[in-house]
């Protein structure tokens, strides 16, 4: 179990509980975080689950593999701390993680 803080562009903070073993895209969808679309369902093929991990959590969230890196190039406004939420696995280690949401996915 991990507590995740989603922060939207206008500064709204939503805190949600995430089960270990799930992924960040599913957590967002299950909790009505509309900024995450996750259209391909987590196959790393749509880049509509793009988000920004707060710098101090970046290392813990893992490193994007080659496929994810390529897909991230398709995202709108990618940055150094960009991730595809479906590729971020939830573990107890991520308890307290701060995730910034993009304004839009397209």
């Amino acid at each position: 179990m991990a507590l995740i803080k989603f922060i939207s562009v206008n500064g709204d903070v939503r805190e949600v509980n995430a089960d270990s073993g799930s992924n960040l895209m599913q957590v967002a969808l299950d909790n009505g975080i509309d900024e995450i679309l996750g259209e391909c369902g987590g196959s790393c093929s749509c880049a509509t689950c793009h988000c920004y991990i707060a710098e101090d959590w970046l290392a813990k969230s893992g490193t994007p593999d080659e496929i994810e890196q390529e897909m991230l190039e398709c995202a709108l406004d990618p940055a150094k701390n960009s991730r595809l939420a479906c590729q971020v696995n939830i573990s107890n280690e991520l308890d307290g993680m701060v995730v910034h949401l993009p304004e839009s996915q397209y």
Partner: protein, 335 residues
């Protein structure tokens, strides 16, 4: 008619006919194209008809060409992904997770063997209901569906590809003088009544035809036009048949026209339409739209027509009412 020159678009709001129920039996799919959208209609094993955008979100195959009904869902012909009537991907046969992107769905309704879709550019749910070929006319002609022959297939005809705007076709409903010239009518019908009803969704006219011999009104017909998509017509008197005429935009340049005839059964007769009546409907009744089309296809739309005196009131009332079916703001959510 060059539809690009018209002062109104091919994206009106309302109910539009897209098929006859008999064309899509349970377990079958049908590719369709209206309002510039590729669509697929399919009837689940539960008998319910569903309509949605045609292209699979996987790699874009058209679900209406080779797609198969599975339960109440449709399976894509390309890689077998399964979509339900809400446009949700419910199965990818070779992987555990499904995709979240939905296929856009459209409201459909079926009545008396005709299929209609709700079109609304804002995506709003249906704002009004369609008139009913039987229930809506009770006070005018109280006949039951069982007193008519089945409509499909012999009482139906479509014109699949016409350069005609639906709105123009419904101007016939107030045009008393075109009957003489276009349809060879021996006497001119008289406009007896005219009103707008059903919360502004229906324009209703009542015409009377006099008998050539007696000069008495021997037949009346009540027309209810729903938006700029369909007109329901009931004849009472010498003939007692009913006609649905519909026009549905295919894209910005063409429409499909539909005609449906409910022909009165002979007393006590059951079963399908006899051959002589089939022939009569085919040769005499389902040809009226051909006559109108000779004009419509080549007409140039006149925004401010020099109307004959007797027509001014009705035409102006009709056109003003028709203008209310374009560019509506999104309907307010009521739930």
């Amino acid at each position: 008619m060059n539809l690009k020159e018209l002062p109104f678009s091919m994206k009106p709001v309302g109910w539009f006919q897209i098929a006859w129920s008999g064309e899509i039996p349970a377990g079958e799919v049908k590719p369709l194209r209206y309002f510039g959208e590729d669509l697929v209609a399919f009837r689940g094993e539960d008998g319910e008809l569903r309509l949605m955008n045609a292209h699979c979100h996987h790699m874009g195959a058209h679900l209406g060409h080779g797609g198969k009904v599975k339960g109440n869902c449709v399976t894509c012909p390309y890689h077998g992904w399964v979509w339900n009537g809400e446009g949700k991907n419910v199965e990818i046969p070779y992987q555990e997770n499904t995709i979240n992107k939905r296929i856009k769905t459209w409201h459909v309704t079926e009545q008396h063997g005709c299929v209609f879709m709700w079109h609304d550019p804002t995506g709003s749910a249906p704002r009004w209901e369609l008139p009913h070929m039987f229930d809506s006319f009770r006070e005018f002609s109280d006949r039951d569906e069982s007193e008519f022959y089945p409509i499909y297939p012999h009482g139906t005809r479509r014109w699949p590809n016409e350069p005609v705007h639906p709105q123009i076709t419904f101007e016939n409903s107030v045009d008393s003088m075109h009957f003489r010239y276009v349809h060879d009518s021996p006497l001119d019908p008289m406009l007896l009544e005219m009103d707008i009803r059903e919360n502004d969704s229906v324009f209703r006219t009542l015409f009377g035809f006099k008998s050539v011999r007696t000069n008495n009104i021997e037949m009346t017909f009540d027309t209810r036009t729903s938006g700029v998509g369909c007109s329901f017509n009931v004849f009472k008197g010498a003939y007692n048949y009913r006609v649905l005429f519909s026009a549905t935009p295919i894209d910005d340049e063409t429409s499909e026209l539909f005609n449906t005839i409910w022909w009165e059964r002979k007393d006590g007769e059951a079963g399908d339409m006899p051959l002589v009546i089939q022939e009569r409907i085919k040769n005499e009744i389902l040809t009226t739209v051909d006559e109108d089309l000779l004009v419509w296809r080549h007409q140039k739309y006149v925004d401010r027509p020099m109307l004959a005196k007797q027509d001014v009131k009705a035409f102006n009332m009709l056109r003003k009412w028709q203008a209310g079916f374009y560019d509506l703001p999104p309907a307010e959510q009521v739930d």
